[in-house]
């Protein structure tokens, strides 16, 4: 089953990068892509993962995203947490220079905090 990542324990979510600017995005239960990991559809069973990856492939073909894959997460008291350091950094942004990278691009669209 998939939920809005509120269930306890370990599971999987589907992530990708947005085609236009490479931003990290997560597949939500309603089939949209969010910049926020807590919006991700939380997968506990393999058929659901296959179904969501198939949906992601559709969005790959329709040029919304690139490089979709499923990743491991845990649901903790603080919310969804990526299990690997790599995915934690992908979700939170670089652990350095935050004052710089957190500002919007000069002229480019500011990445939406909600769904793309």
């Amino acid at each position: 089953m998939t939920t809005n990542a509120t269930s306890a324990g370990h599971g999987r979510i589907v992530t990708a990068n947005r085609l236009t600017d490479g931003a990290v995005v997560y597949l939500t239960p309603d089939g949209r892509w969010s910049r926020r990991i807590e919006h991700a559809a939380f997968i506990m069973e393999e058929p659901d993962e296959k179904r969501l990856l198939a949906a992601a492939d559709e969005d790959l073909r329709s040029r919304r995203i690139v490089g979709p894959y499923a990743m491991d997460v845990a649901h903790t008291a603080e919310g969804v947490r990526a299990l690997s350091e790599r995915e934690r950094i992908r979700a939170a942004g670089p652990s350095v220079q935050q004052a710089l990278w957190a500002q919007p691009r000069g002229r480019a669209m500011t990445p939406s905090e909600g769904s793309s």
Binding site: N17, L19, T20, D21, G22, A23, V24, L60, S62, R63, V66, G67, L83, S84, E85, R86, I89, R90, G93, P94, S95, V96, Q97, L100, W101, Q103, P104, R105, G106, R107, A108, M109
Partner: protein, 560 residues
């Protein structure tokens, strides 16, 4: 500086327009990601952890103030206000959007820059001694030959699909500031017994997962034969280099597998056979290119300056900066001033757009409008009058660029690591920042003396850890960041690969381990001995004993 001719302009403009069309076709659905990926990589555009990354070539690390201002403009307009100068003397922008990239390439072309051959299995941006043309110990300006190699290798049809990427570095000084012996080809300008100038040719050096110090296959190559000889090396590599295994595809593996002498014989054979048809490098062409690198209009000045001495006596911070950040210039009355891009809490090599503009303004006012990028991720003002140094230092201080640490323990090389890079296993930048903070007292740093710490976030070794006096390699240990330490690496003319000191350290313990190593050096060094000299005299064991042996406490506290 070299200026584009009509062919250069046409080529770069054509490539920019081609890429604009390719991006439009990708966004419009005519190209799949699989089709588009090699096209974007050919234009230096990678997809990293959080965003696209654009790698821009800075040929042999030489920049005009105008070019630096344009990089600042790009950082400000299309990115997030900063850029990252790399160990290959290039700059990387961390946050460009795909849709803006054609405009960025157009902005680069306006100032005779591009991102061609900054990715892919081709001959990459040619690097050189950052003090080229100004070093007091130089035989000849290596940029003349770096530029000739750049022109020869740009879109070279025979060498556009090599087994793997290919990096060439050139130096004109006996003191190697370009890490010549860890490049696929290193060229060292030398004199033969008759006084003629030619090249020592070093082949098959490299870092990555199989670090190798290159071997000399020609002690003296006449200048005229430079391109023909490079062609012979590349041709042997192109024919025999492995294409079945990406990890064994670099030329170093080929040279190691056949042996240096046998590889040299194959090159000489190819060179003699193809000599009639190979590219010739006549003296007139060398002369034509050399004119672009003519020295600026130096003034005739005394070799010492009274006002400089006065300022140094009066201002201790300025004196410290002069001690670490200046190098001897070939012209009396001038100095080479290094701008440290290693201030507190800043990723090594990062500069904001405002800092780039400040450096450009200082270059315009005090350094004939010229800057350099070093492979150690700093900038250089190559021609500063001694009596201008104090004003330059004041300008740098205002811009947050006057850290007096060049060559010292906090002048750390670090790759972007897991904070930005898709390939990394561990973070590099936070380790560099924590080492910086541990040794933050500049007096202590100056007392320690020359010490090169280099950090890579994975085995690909972009942070040159194999040739760090202290090398730090990030590894993934059961999902946790760990760091393996090597000692005794050296990127200079006495090149050496570091030796692993022992089991790796947790992120929490790695800075303690570095400090332990530095303390051991301070206790055991002889008077005037640099870290690398002490290491060579006493070897790895005393460092190892004190790090692990004297107390297994590092192990108990997280070493694995």
């Amino acid at each position: 500086m070299y200026r584009y001719d009509e062919f250069d302009h046409a080529l770069v403009a054509e490539r920019t327009e081609q890429f604009r069309g390719q991006v439009a076709r990708r966004l419009g659905g005519e190209l799949t990601e699989e089709e588009f990926r090699p096209l974007r990589l050919m234009n230096g555009l990678y997809l990293q952890l959080h965003a696209y990354m654009l790698r821009v070539a800075i040929p042999y690390g030489t920049l005009s103030a105008r070019q630096m201002r344009q990089l600042a403009h790009i950082a400000r307009t299309y990115d997030r206000g900063y850029g990252h100068f790399t160990t290959r003397q290039n700059i990387q922008f961390n946050w460009p959007s795909l849709v803006d990239t054609p405009d960025i390439l157009e902005a680069l072309a306006e100032v005779e820059m591009h991102a061609i051959q900054t990715s892919g299995n081709c001959i990459r941006n040619v690097t050189a001694d950052p003090y080229a043309g100004v070093a007091a110990d130089e035989i000849e300006d290596p940029r003349v030959y770096a530029e000739i190699v750049r022109q020869w290798s740009t879109l070279h049809p025979e060498f556009s699909f090599l087994p793997r990427k290919f990096k060439i570095a050139v130096t004109g000084s006996p003191h190697d500031r370009a890490a010549i012996r860890v490049h696929d080809i290193g060229l060292v300008l030398r004199r033969d017994p008759s006084g003629a100038v030619g090249f020592e040719v070093v082949v098959g050096g490299g870092q990555g997962r199989t670090p190798v110090i290159g071997v000399t296959i020609r002690d003296f190559l006449p200048k005229r034969d430079l391109l023909a000889y490079l062609e012979a090396i590349l041709r042997v590599y192109n024919m025999l280099g492995r294409r079945d295994n990406i990890f064994k595809a670099r030329i170093k593996i080929l040279v190691q597998s056949v042996g240096g002498a046998r590889f040299a014989a194959m090159v000489e054979d190819e060179f003699s056979q193809a000599r009639e048809t190979s590219a010739d490098l006549p003296a007139e062409e060398i002369h034509r290119i050399r004119r672009y690198f003519a020295p600026p209009a130096y003034e005739t000045l005394p070799s010492a300056d009274f006002s400089l001495a006065t300022h140094r006596r009066a201002e201790r911070d300025f004196d410290l900066w002069c001690r670490s950040n200046l190098a001897p210039h070939k012209q009396p009355g001038y100095a080479i001033a290094v701008i440290s891009l290693k201030p507190e809490d800043v990723p090594p090599g990062d500069a904001t757009a405002d800092q780039m503009d400040a450096a450009a303004a200082l270059a315009e006012r005090y350094s004939f409008g010229e800057l350099r990028v070093t492979h150690e991720q700093n900038l250089v003002l190559p021609h500063v009058r001694l009596d201008d140094l104090h004003a330059v230092w004041q300008g740098l201080t205002q811009a947050g660029l006057a850290t007096a640490n060049v060559g010292l323990v906090s002048d750390i090389i670090a790759c972007p690591g897991l904070d930005y890079c898709n390939l990394a296993n561990a973070r590099s930048i936070p380790v560099a920042e924590r080492i910086w903070n541990r040794f933050r007292d500049l007096d202590r740093q100056h007392a320690i003396g020359e010490l090169k710490i280099k950090i890579s976030g994975c085995i690909n070794a972009c942070g040159h850890h194999h040739v760090g006096h202290i090398g730090i390699l990030g590894v993934d240990r059961k999902g946790e960041e760990h760091y393996q330490i090597t000692l005794g690496g050296d990127a200079s003319e006495t090149a050496a690969l570091g030796q692993v000191i022992g089991p790796s350290f947790s992120s929490e313990r790695v800075v303690d381990a570095v400090e332990n190593i530095v303390e051991t050096y301070l206790q055991l060094r002889s008077a005037g001995e640099r870290f690398i000299e002490t290491y060579r005299r006493i070897g790895l064991q005393p460092f190892k004993d004190r790090l692990y042996g004297s107390a297994g406490k590092e192990r108990r506290h997280g070493a694995a």
